[in-house]
Amino acid sequence: MEALDQLFIEAGTLMLAGMVFVFAFLGLLVVIINAVLTPLASKFPDPVAQSVTRPTLKKPAPQQGVSPTVVAAISAAVSQYRQKHKE
């Protein structure tokens, strides 16, 4: 019985230490994302977004139909979606 009590105390300590550590670890990750990653992200925007906007600036939008870049983007998204939901 004494051995069991001892085990209970160890399990309790483990539970406490474990939960504190999990929260501390993931909490620190939240801080890192908010304090470092997100601010940095605005300095390094997606290169894709730029290359999409640039050609439309050069060629003042062909009015009839959908622009080829939009078609390309949509078809890429569709094929990606299909691939992901293949199963």
Binding site: L7, V22, F25
Partner: protein, 377 residues
């Protein structure tokens, strides 16, 4: 006449023991669940078949010289298979929803309470005669609450290899049962109004963030929890290959061919541990019961944490997504989405639930690292 006798003695029929027959039936049961009920078929088919093979009398699959013996020692005893699977899971995981709303990490952390509470429960079972779980055994059983197959197998192979079969069966069965176990608990702890809460649309996440994120996670594992580094490291490698955009071939291999090959052998290797002497005992029943408890507590604590955060945060948070904190990607997120749709047909929670869902994967890897560091020899 003597030759006839020798021939008879070399048949399976003459050598069957009761335990082997029962374990073959257990293997057939797993095959039934996989094929007819579609329960985690990718793993349960090789696992169920492995259970049948390992119990064939005289065939010696799991003895020295037998195929399953080597599969187990090469891949599972060393921890290689679960780690390779983890790399593939990393390559399949999109952290975008989590980076867009990092607070969701707290939900992934809260759901890990299922693990640590079950650890306590496993020790409490020792009060019943017939149970003798050491702290190592209890930790390996508790990780079922992480709802993460490879993590559970990895930890069990390190801490309690003799319980591995039962733990793997429990972990994968309950993962398949997530759509049945979770909704009643989610509904019990939330009211109709809370389930209807709509959440703000997630912001766009840039490629830069997605590339840096796995490196940041790895750095934290290096600094604070090296015992989780095998799991976290392989996971981050897979994720980096996915997001960096220059090794699409490797990323595609990790999330398709490689993970498929490893899954076959992982299933067979785990199946080889389903022998009568290791599985047919009262401890297995205890493990199955504790696994269900672990899942339920994890779901509950995730939901309660989400309720708390909803009260404190200025952006509304639907408490249902807290249940997705128990990894089980992507099943748990789909369940949250489904229960949300029942309350409000215009409320799509799937993307929001993916945040806590992938946070749960990180959370259970961290929890496994803690258990390894504290009770591993």
């Amino acid at each position: 006449m003597e030759q006839l006798n020798t021939l008879w003695m070399s048949t399976g029929l003459a050598n069957f023991e009761m335990g082997q027959v029962i374990m073959m039936l257990v293997g057939c049961g797993l095959l039934y669940l996989a094929i007819a009920r579609n329960f985690e078929p990718l793993l349960l088919v090789p696992m169920g078949f492995g259970a049948i093979l390992t119990n064939i009398p005289l065939a010696g699959f799991s003895e020295v010289g037998g195929l399953l013996h080597y599969v187990y020692y090469a891949g599972i005893d060393t921890g290689i298979f679960p780690l390779l699977i983890f790399m593939g899971v990393g390559a399949m995981t999109d952290f975008g929803a989590l980076i867009a709303n990092p607070k969701m990490l707290f939900l992934g952390a809260a759901a890990q309470f299922g693990i640590f509470a079950t650890l306590f429960g496993a020790i409490a079972l020792n009060a019943i005669p017939g149970f003798e779980f050491s702290l190592q055994d209890a930790s390996a059983i508790a990780i079922i609450g992480g709802a993460d197959g490879p993590t559970a197998i990895f930890l069990a192979s390190k801490l309690a290899p003799e319980l591995l079969g039962a733990i793997a069966v429990a972990a994968y069965s309950y993962m398949a049962l997530v759509p049945i176990i979770q909704p009643p608990i989610m509904k019990l702890f939330t009211n109709e109004e809370e389930r209807k809460i709509e959440m703000a649309q997630l912001r766009h996440v840039t490629k830069f963030e997605k590339v840096i994120f796995p490196l940041a996670v790895l750095l934290m594992a290096i600094f604070f929890l090296p015992s989780a580094a095998p799991l976290v490291g392989m996971f981050c490698l897979g994720n980096l290959m996915r997001e960096c955009g220059v090794v699409d071939r490797l990323s595609s291999t990790a999330q398709n061919e490689l993970i498929n090959i490893v899954t076959i052998f992982l299933g067979l290797g785990v199946g080889s541990k389903l022998s009568a002497e290791a599985f047919l005992n009262v401890e297995t029943l205890g493990i199955l019961a504790l696994g269900a408890v672990a899942f339920s507590i994890g779901t509950t604590s995730g939901v309660l944490m989400a309720k708390l955060m909803n009260k404190l945060s200025k952006d509304p948070i639907n408490p249902l997504i807290g249940a997705a904190g128990v990894s089980a990607v992507p099943m748990a997120a789909r369940v949250a989405n489904k229960v949300g749709l029942e309350a409000n047909p215009h409320n799509f929670l799937l993307m929001h639930a993916m945040g806590p869902n992938v946070a749960g994967v990180l959370g259970s890897a961290v929890a496994a690292g803690i258990l390894l560091a504290l009770v591993g020899s």
